[in-house]
Symmetry: C2
């Protein structure tokens, strides 16, 4: 990245002015481009914020950039701006009117701040870098064998050896399948995107529970597919039945270590759910990405009951081995897998061959299982640590359940205080949490906490800050009542 | 993969019947699933085709599967089929009515046959496994360093070190950019998909030349974006102008070593094209994936003239280092890159960290440049070899130009004989070519030949077969005239 040269005869702020001017001149920063914040520029250029301020002030005075109150600083579009006085495409209009929805603002903020080292990540859906088997993964590279065919365009369905390994792997989830019924994808998120455009049309319906991971992303909504929240309770059958007339429907669920609630359905609940959906011919999309992180008892997948090709099953190694490998899988009936493979080929022509080789090696060598044992033990002790802090401080203002595995505690406040304001106040103190309204727009009482990422010290410190801000929010709520 | 057990007391064909029955019973093969061909089943099970025939005949007699004339054998949906007599979702209807277009039938056939070792691939867009630096790539894994952060969810924009390396790399294409203006993608194909849903809406227009790679895929068409073919000639300006009223337009082109024609535009042509498009405010999508394979002179990219953020540039290492890594990049104005990053995050949360590490290492260590020198020399000698055979045999029935780099010779027959029939006749003799109509539905005189994949012996043998079938086609055409 460019930085001003401290040995140059030109002053730092002049060098910065030149660099910014050049960004505009080369069309990298077109009219309307939002400049990075002063803080970000100061970090990138390794200069004081006052130097940045000086540079930006001069550019503003020249009419080259302009501040918009509350929104930031932008490349100006005005008659004084000689630099921008060329014909440029109006990219913002392209963006504003295009097909795919942007990430929600809160999610964008979370993503932005997650990149910063000073932030304590108290809600994140990722294990700590310290818990990843980085050294072992690096060592395992030496055991890979590669042929020219391996690193060519291989079958978009995925390496056969990996699909065979996945067949073995999912046996412990009670699933009997064949390599032909598996598609390798670049993480479970890609599975959702693929399914959206390969199996549905505008107006199709994806059912989900009211509190759902799917509310924090929108792989389906961008294509006009409707989301319908339906509680998985006694009324399920009738409600679903009344909606059955729609041509393409599916019920999305995370029945084992749900995200964000951490719930694990009982075997009976899974069976009953499968039977209801089968009788209504509503397929099930089972997201099983956390199942390898069950602390105690094994719990079979819904897919294990499937004898009618009713369940499409997705999972990955992103929550266990490494998100960076970008390897997941879809298991389903042959025509569905064929269709998804054809579209996967058009999307990205298959997943990284090296990543596939690595996952094959980890699944077949026993390294993966060994790593799981260690990881689960670490997560369990982290969960206990978080519970102990919650018990000490949050017991009078919130409730929670002891996690059965995975990353999360779904903290439930006694009062509705979880607002965007609380989220921002906590963030201002460098602590990032996932507020419940990401997963259910109506929610104002929950926070998804994760004990998987931050260090123990950070967990404690972060929870203290959350506690302090929660108490203030409760007091404010009481005051205005 | 399952195979019948030859030591079992049960006969081979009974074991196969049981296996197929089980596929249906578990819902892997739902009603309407097309069975693999007898040939494929015989290969997979390592038995004679007569054994397969016997098994299928029994299943047909039991009403479990049924043959549809010319279409294949399917899991039956009838009252005799006790196995299938459960409620199943009608997956075929989901597929038929969904958003994304399937691959064209000819492309599906090509993909299917490309997986078979006995096929001579005479048109394929991929370098031979022998030309890939497999050994060096494997060795280079030992020079990688990895931190836990590297293999976590990293920035969906791509590793910063790779974006810095790409900045350096594209300098030789005349491009001055910054790491912030680069998005790492999983190959250039993903770049097209991302752009389609991130910058366009139904009714937007993508311009292209009449013969275009984009006709063989449909990243845009599936979302209602229109493709318009416009010759890049004197009339370009007026024609484009008349279409300018549309809100979002872009002109897609491969100006350096075009796919499939192999053409390289002159610097003047590129400049003029840039100026016309800029004056009309029609952005350019420059696909530069073959440029590193120019045999002789360097030819600057269109992006190198860009001073207004008019050009979005895409490239990758798939045509040079390894398709299996799935690493490419998009270079564009900051707001466009920000938008594409936000959507990339929702698509697959970034590209494989290990693949990114490898490409960073190859670009920065000099290994990539060294490999290019060797690869280009090999490709050039292969090109000469193909030309010598063409000169000897095809001189009286077709014309071609000497390639300036890349993989392809765009063979032009004197008569319109390139039909699906010719394609299939050649394929029947185990030779796979890419007929011109894949790239221009009106075309019946061209074949895209590639000298990059098959061995020299295969190239010669394959061309002989193509020659024989071409002569027969010409005779037939003359006869019916």
């Amino acid at each position: 990245m460019w930085k001003p040269n401290r040995n140059s005869s030109s002053s730092l702020h002049h060098q910065i002015i030149n660099w910014i001017t050049n960004q505009i001149n080369t069309g990298n920063w077109v009219v309307g481009t939002k400049l990075p914040t002063q803080r970000q520029l100061a970090l990138q250029f390794e200069v004081n914020r006052s130097t940045i301020q000086q540079a930006l002030d001069e550019l503003k005075a020249d009419g080259i950039i302009e501040a918009k109150r509350g929104a930031g600083v932008f490349v100006a579009n005005n008659s004084w701006n000689l630099l921008a006085k060329k014909q440029q495409p109006n990219w913002q209009r392209y963006i504003d009117e295009s097909i795919h929805k942007p990430n929600y603002r809160t999610i964008q903020l979370i993503n932005e701040y997650e990149q910063e080292d000073s932030i304590i990540r108290l809600g994140t859906g990722e294990i700590s870098p310290n818990l990843l088997p980085t050294k072992e993964l690096l060592e395992s590279l030496q055991n890979l064998s590669l042929t020219g065919k391996d690193i060519g365009y291989s079958s978009p369905q995925g390496h056969e050896e990996l699909r065979i390994a996945v067949c073995q792997h999912v046996k412990k989830r009670g699933i009997a399948t064949t390599p032909d019924n598996i598609l390798i994808v670049s993480g479970a998120l890609q599975a959702l995107q693929l399914m959206a455009v390969s199996l549905f049309e505008p107006g199709s319906i994806v059912f989900q529970e009211p509190i759902s991971y799917l509310n924090s992303i929108h792989p389906f909504q961008s294509y006009g597919i409707q989301m319908k929240s339906i509680k998985r309770d006694a009324a399920l059958s009738t409600t679903l039945y009344s909606l059955k007339k729609h041509r393409q429907t599916i019920y999305y669920t995370v029945p084992t270590l749900d995200n964000p609630t951490g719930k694990v359905w009982s075997t009976e609940e899974k069976k009953r759910f499968y039977e209801i959906c089968t009788s209504l011919q509503i397929p099930i999309l089972e997201d099983d990405v956390y199942a390898d992180l069950l602390f105690e008892t094994d719990s079979h997948s819904i897919k294990s009951f499937d004898s009618s090709g009713q369940v499409i099953y997705i999972s990955s190694v992103s929550k266990t081995l490494s998100p960076g490998l970008r390897i997941g899988w879809i298991i389903g009936p042959t025509p569905v897998i064929k269709r998804l493979t054809d579209i996967k080929m058009q999307m990205d022509y298959g997943s990284s061959a090296i990543s596939q080789k690595i996952v094959t090696y980890w699944l077949t060598s026993g390294l993966y299982q060994k790593h799981l044992v260690e990881l689960k033990s670490q997560l369990k002790s982290r969960a206990n640590f978080m519970i102990s802090i919650l018990s000490e401080y949050f017991h009078s203002i919130a409730t929670w359940e002891s996690p059965k595995g995975g990353f999360y505690i779904w903290l439930k406040y006694n009062k509705p205080i979880v607002t965007r304001e609380l989220f921002l106040k906590v963030l201002k103190r460098n602590v990032l949490v996932n507020p419940g309204y990401i997963y259910d727009t109506e929610d104002s009482t929950h926070i998804r906490l994760s004990y998987a990422y931050a260090s123990l010290d950070e967990l404690k410190y972060g929870l203290m800050i959350l506690y302090e801000e929660s108490i203030l929010a409760i007091k404010a709520a009481d005051f205005y009542k």
